[in-house]
Each structure stands twice: as C-alpha cells, then as structure tokens.
C-alpha cells in the first residue's frame, strides 16, 4: 500500500465543491486551512451535465441538500492545461476521476496522475442527465465492477489511490474488492439516495435531473457509520465526507476512523474569506479537542476506548 501524501492540516474540500484549480489557489491565498484540494471529478469526455436547477436546499439549513449536477466535466486535455498551470504553495492536489467504463477510468487516471499527489476514484454518483446511460449510477453497487475499475486504475498509475464509496450500496464488499485490487485508502463517501423534491406549484420534480444526491447534515450519520464500519473492518486510511460543518463533526469522524476530513456542503452560501474562516475554525476546534495529543492519536479512538469508568466506585 502506498501511504497517502501528507495532508496537513488533514482537511480537504470535497470533490465537486470549489472544483477548479484557480478556486483552490484563491482559497490558499485567503488562508484556508486545507492541507489538500480535490478537483471536480474529471471524466473521459467533455460533458455539460444537467440543466439548472441543480440544487435544492432549504434556506433554514439542517434539511437535506439535493444536487444533481450529473458530473459535468471539461475534456481531459483541458483539465491537463488547468492543472499544469496550478501552483499551490503548501497544499496537496487530489484529482478525482470517473469514467463510463472501467477502461475509461484508467485512461483518465493515467492522464491526470502527473499532476496529482493522489487520485480519488469516484465509485458512485447517484445523479445523471435524464436518459443518460452510465455505469456511474451502478458501479458502486457492484464489488466486481468496482474491483475491476480499481485494478485497471492501479495498473495505469503509480499515485496513491482513494476509492470513494457510495453510501447507497453494500459498501464494505465494494471496499474490500477495491482494497484487494490496489486501492490505498477509502473515501467515505459520496452523496446519498438520490432523493426527490416536488414543487407544489408546477406539481413536478424540482430538479432538472428529477432526483438529486443528498449531502450536508442529513448525510452525516450515514457516512459517519460508513467510516466507523470501514475502519473497524480494514483499519486503512479513510478520507471522510458528509455534513462536516463544525469541529465537532470533524472530531466525530476522526474518532470513527477518518484521517482526512472533507468539507463540502458546509461552504454553502459562504464567500472565500468566510469559507477560509470556517476551515480555520474547524481545525482550531479539533486542535483544542486534541488537548496536546497528536492528531493521529484520535483516529479511530471510538473503537479503542473501553467503556468509560465514570464512577470510581
């Protein structure tokens, strides 16, 4: 197994959030406390994705956030140009990839590898353009196909590989197949569902893609459990995503087993400075919680601690 690159502080953005190299550079310049940046998932051919609207959220917050971008991507050549011109000062770059077939995953990985400190393989996005035929919907459901994807990607590049799981699947079986095929870490995980929202005036689904993957606070207990179970089973490095918005969320995921924490929907509505402030608040909160211990000590702690002896009796 290749170790993950050192991501310090162990915070990243989630794929599809911020998405582009120039946004990463702007975040770094604004003092964001992210030790790594993850690109939007790079696909094999240019694709525009779904028409607007692509997000549903409630202004009050807390409620599920639905998105159905359906993996828009510029061409791999255009991504190469973008990534070649990126100059991050301190942070690592993780390139997220997807494909329409296992072979396409490998070809995209091969092209992106020179620019990446690690490759994150997107094994399941519940969104698609209406009528589209794609294995992305079902790939994460099948340990065999996921394993095949990972085997080909492993053969095509030398960089550490993160297998990003879908919560909508028998993810432990998928994870096992991926780790056996050469994945170095697990991503726990992608969006949930998808879910539906219907508009009361037009009486039709709101999202142009009909349904949308669920992210944000509503997703947290699901991906937290995924992290917890994956750590218990595999003790491998885990990059966690899902509703991380406060240092408390970050601490929970860390104790469940994550060694890198991804922030996505929590940036909703926040400008660059406010977003950078959010990342700092999260990390400062975790550091205070660590109370002098090194961060890796906390990883998986919920599995190790005995029932607390509260009584001194």
């Amino acid at each position: 197994m290749r170790p993950l690159p050192r991501i310090d502080p162990p915070l990243v953005n989630a794929s599809g959030i911020l998405s582009y190299p120039e946004v990463f550079a702007a975040f770094e310049k604004a003092g964001a406390c992210l030790g790594g940046y993850v690109t939007k998932s790079v696909g094999p051919v240019e694709k525009a994705g779904n028409d607007n609207p692509v997000v549903v959220y409630s202004a009050e917050g807390g409620a599920p956030v639905l998105n159905s971008l359906a993996l828009p991507t510029q061409s791999p050549e255009d991504w190469e140009k973008d990534l070649a011109s990126l100059r991050l000062q301190r942070s690592r770059l993780i390139v997220s990839i997807y494909g329409g077939t296992p072979g396409e995953f490998a070809r995209v990985a091969e092209r992106m590898a020179p620019y990446a400190d690690a490759i994150e393989v997107n094994l399941g996005c519940p969104n698609k353009v209406p009528g589209e035929q794609t294995i992305m919907e079902s790939i994460g459901q099948s340990p065999a196909v996921s394993g095949e994807v990972m085997r080909l990607v492993r053969g095509a590049c030398e960089k550490p590989l993160i297998a990003k799981l879908s919560p909508n699947s028998d993810y432990l079986a998928v994870a096992e197949a991926c780790l056996a095929a050469g994945a170095d870490a697990l991503g726990c995980g992608n969006t949930l569902g998808p879910g539906l929202a219907i508009d009361l005036t037009s009486r039709k689904p709101i999202l142009a893609g009909t349904t949308g993957g669920i992210s944000g606070p509503a997703l947290k207990p699901i991906n937290l459990r995924m992290t917890y179970e994956a750590y218990a089973r595999f003790q491998c490095p885990i990059v966690a995503y899902g509703g991380i918005a406060t240092w408390r969320d970050a601490a929970e995921y860390t104790m469940a087993g994550a060694c890198v924490l991804g922030i996505g929907t929590a940036f909703l509505g926040k400008g660059t400075r406010e977003s950078a402030g959010l990342t700092r608040a999260i990390w400062e909160g975790v550091v205070a919680y660590l109370d002098g211990r090194p961060f890796p000590d906390l990883v998986g702690e919920a599995h190790r601690l005995p029932a607390p002896d509260l009584t001194h009796a």
């Binding site: 120039e22 607007n52 692509v54 142009a208 996505g264």
Partner: protein
C-alpha cells in the same frame, strides 16, 4: 429551495427588455441577484431592479420565455444571493445595456448619484426619465440617437468620490482602465449553476461570483486575470468572454 411567486406585470421597457414584477418583495441589497426558475425550462441569475422585479434582456431561449410571461404566471425565485454594492455618497453610476437596470436599486439607495449611461440606441437607455429626477444623467449611444455618439467610455473620466459599473464585461474592463480601482465597484457575470458557492462554476480568477460577488471592488478585479478574458462554460471548459 425555489419559492414560487406569481407575475404581477410584464412591463416592456424596450424592444429587447422587459421588467417582470412579481407578488413578493425581496429584502435585498442593491446588486444582489435571484435565481429565477421556470419549471422544465431552467433557472438563471437576474439582478433585482426593484424589490419585486427583475429587468430582463432577451438573449436566448430562457430570456425569451421570461419576456413572454403574463400576469398570473408562476415564477420560481431563489435568493437574494451574493453580495451587492456598498453604500456610496455621490457615486457615479456607470451602466451599459441591461446593466443600467441592475443599477436602479443602487441609484435609489445612493446619496446624490450621477449617471453615465451607454447603449446602442436610445431605447437601451433604461430608466432614463426616472434617473433624471435623481441626478445628472450623461448618455452616450452608438447610433447617436440619445446623448453623445459613441461608447460610454467616451464620457469618462467623470469626477466622483466613488464609481459603480455594470454592463457588458468588455465595457466594464475598458471603464476600469479609466477609473481609480480603489473607489470603483463592478458587477461581474458568470455562468451559474448552484449560485451558492458550492460548484465553482462561476469562478473569475478563483473568486466565486455567486458568493464573493457579483459586485467586486475594482482593486480585486484588477488582479483578476480572467476578467474581460475568459469564463467557464457549462462543462467547465474555458471560453472567451
């Protein structure tokens, strides 16, 4: 979550421009925008020109549909979104095309504004009469049908303690070259998807226009290499502005 409102009035401002009033007042800062949704047709960004209206220039299929709405028709609204203009004393408000409409709320909120407006023809000089009641109005039209003949830049520089610019991106870039960036604010347009800072689609040199803007200080815009040059198309591919 878009909230559905109803169209109250569709007011034709010019052969290409309509102000759509709806039955909901939005508490907003001048320069903030709404994502406007027509079910099954799309959802796109428009700056509020009244607390309960947007002014739309017909530019393609979606704006054609907007321009055809009638009173009583449903219209989905999400917002207000983004950051608007700061409050300014005696600003010069420099507008081009439908960007003039995007300055209307700022004009009403400003102390003693002056106006510098440009367009192809007289019909594009929106709210001309209304603005004249608020302060001096300087106009340039390409065909000379109103005010001076030429581009809005031909009226610059004007002396003012602060400047707000809204219009086509190349016009804004030309204006910025003639204005003191530390006292100038500009409203940038980019293709928008989420409009809440998540997807990165609307980046202009790394700033997400939907949450960091659409209104930016001139000093920032000066540093934006992409401004006036390129933007990301729906797939993320770069295209020229």
């Amino acid at each position: 979550m878009p909230e559905m409102a109803r169209v109250l009035e569709n007011r034709r401002e010019s052969p290409w421009t309509h102000t759509l009033f709806f039955d909901r007042e939005v508490k907003c800062a001048p320069g903030q925008f709404m994502m406007v949704w027509l079910p099954r047709l799309g959802e796109k960004p428009f700056t509020l020109s009244y607390p309960n209206a947007i002014t739309v220039k017909r530019a393609g299929p979606f704006t054609e549909q907007l321009a055809a709405l009638e009173p009583g028709d449903p219209i989905g609204l999400r917002g207000p979104l983004g950051r608007g203009y700061p409050l300014m004393r005696r600003p010069a408000l420099i507008g081009g095309g439908v960007g003039i409409a995007e300055l209307r709320l700022l004009a009403l909120a400003s102390e003693k504004p002056i106006f510098v407006l440009g367009g192809r023809t007289a019909e594009e000089i929106l709210f001309h009469e209304e603005f004249r009641k608020l302060g001096p109005v300087h106009v340039a039209t390409e065909d000379g049908s109103l005010g001076a003949q030429g581009l809005v830049t031909s009226l610059l520089p004007v002396q003012a303690p602060a400047y707000a610019v809204c219009g086509p991106e190349r016009m804004m870039a030309a204006c910025l070259d003639l204005l003191p960036p530390e006292r100038t604010y500009l409203a940038i347009e980019r293709y928008m998807k989420c409009a809440v800072g998540l997807c990165g689609q609307c980046t202009c040199s790394g700033w997400r226009v939907c949450v960091d803007g659409p209104v930016f200080p001139g000093t920032w815009v000066r540093e934006m290499e992409d401004f006036g040059r390129r933007r990301r198309a729906k797939s993320g591919r770069w295209e020229p502005v």
